[in-house]
């Protein structure tokens, strides 16, 4: 009985201590992605539109492992274990697209995919987006997702084989 109360008191103190931790302890370290690692942590008003960059990259298993200058912003990610099998990366295309809550914005990529983006919501420094990725000639999206991302954050999508390599997409959106 005595030990039960001691344990309960200990648990209560742990909970109180955790509740007193400031929110800064859980703050995120801003990610880099395809842009300089500046924090866009400002409060974003519900503006209803955003500007997105879509990068299409081919990752190949042969090469000397050099990251080209136009992909330096993604170097940390491309050198991670996730892409350890790939030794060279080539930026095929970069497109800018405006997205809004009104309708889907479609982008046809030379690498053989169609990208559809739609802004779903803007919520205090985060964007909620809908992403759809179709292979050219396909009738059903290979990927259909709703996600939220920090304003200026990056999402990577690795698709199928293209040009003797693997198609890789980077999506970065900023609210206007």
């Amino acid at each position: 009985m005595k030990s039960f109360w001691s344990l309960s008191l200990f648990a209560a103190c742990v909970l109180v201590g955790s509740a007193l931790l400031p929110n800064a302890a859980l703050a995120r370290v801003p990610a880099g992605g395809a842009s300089p690692p500046t924090a866009d942590a400002v409060e974003v008003a519900a503006v209803g539109s955003a500007s997105c960059r879509v990068l299409s990259i081919v990752a190949k298993k042969d090469g000397d492992g050099t990251i080209p200058p136009n992909l330096k912003a993604l170097e940390a990610e491309l050198r991670s274990d996730q892409f350890a099998a790939y030794k060279s990366f080539e930026l095929v295309e970069e497109k800018s697209v405006s997205v809004s809550e009104a309708s889907d914005s479609s982008v046809a990529m030379k690498i053989g995919y169609d990208v559809k983006l739609r802004l779903l919501a803007v919520e205090s420094a985060r964007l909620k987006l809908h992403l759809s990725l179709l292979a050219k000639g396909g009738n059903k999206p290979l990927l259909d997702a709703d996600y939220s991302v920090r304003n200026g954050g990056v999402l990577l999508v690795v698709a199928g084989k293209r040009d003797q390599g693997r198609a890789l997409f980077a999506f970065q959106c900023r609210a206007r």
Binding site: L21, Q82, L143, D146, Y147, V157, G160
Partner: protein, 201 residues
């Protein structure tokens, strides 16, 4: 004879009645033969018990009698017994309240010692940390189940996937941890036949 009469009989034998009650009871005894017989029987029994106890007491040595009496007294008056007092050990305060003190110390340690991450960390770091293994992806859609996966709420990460559907063979979600934060990578497994892009045409 009822219970009240038995109580009166017992009190009368023990000389516990006040004078007026005693007089009344003696008047009843004179008039009630059954009550008188019961009184005589009780008196005889009492005489026997007392005689027996006295005989037994006379057989006991005086020293043993004192010893028994000391034991009885120590049982009745424990605070006055030096033996009982010596068994009570008073613990120091820190031993009495160590659970409370330990809990309080643990809470203080949690508040003070837990690392607090700065919002803008610009300190240089070593090469990127090991990424999450693809097999440890939290949300994966099976080939025959293109339905949407349950929402993935990943705290402290850049991307939170709220709904995802893979229409191809399958897919998985992985994360890369590096000095700048967490990057989410969605892997799509398409059909095995590669499709040429416009670049190769």
């Amino acid at each position: 004879m009822n219970e009240h009469d038995e109580m009166l009989l017992s009190a009368y034998l023990d000389d516990e009645l006040d004078p007026s009650e005693r007089a009344k009871f003696e008047a009843r005894l004179a008039a009630d033969g059954i009550l008188t017989e019961r009184l005589q029987a009780w008196q005889a029994m009492r005489t026997l018990v007392v005689a027996e106890a006295e005989a037994e007491a006379n057989d006991l040595p005086v020293a043993r009698f004192e010893q028994i009496w000391d034991q009885v007294r120590s049982t009745l008056e424990p605070s006055s017994s030096p033996t009982v007092q010596s068994n009570v050990v008073s613990l120091p305060i820190w031993r009495r309240y160590w659970p409370v003190l330990a809990a309080a110390a643990a809470a203080v340690a949690l508040v003070i010692l837990l690392p607090r991450t700065a919002p803008e960390s610009t300190a240089p770091h070593t090469p990127p940390a090991v990424a999450v293994a693809p097999s440890a992806a939290p949300a994966t859609s099976s080939p025959n189940d293109p339905s949407s996966s349950p929402p993935q709420a990943v705290s402290n990460n850049e991307v939170q996937i709220e709904r995802i559907e893979f229409a191809g063979q399958s897919g998985r979600i992985a994360q890369i941890e590096d000095v700048r934060g967490t990057t989410t990578v969605i892997w799509i497994e398409e059909d095995p036949q590669p499709v040429d892009s416009e670049r190769s045409l």
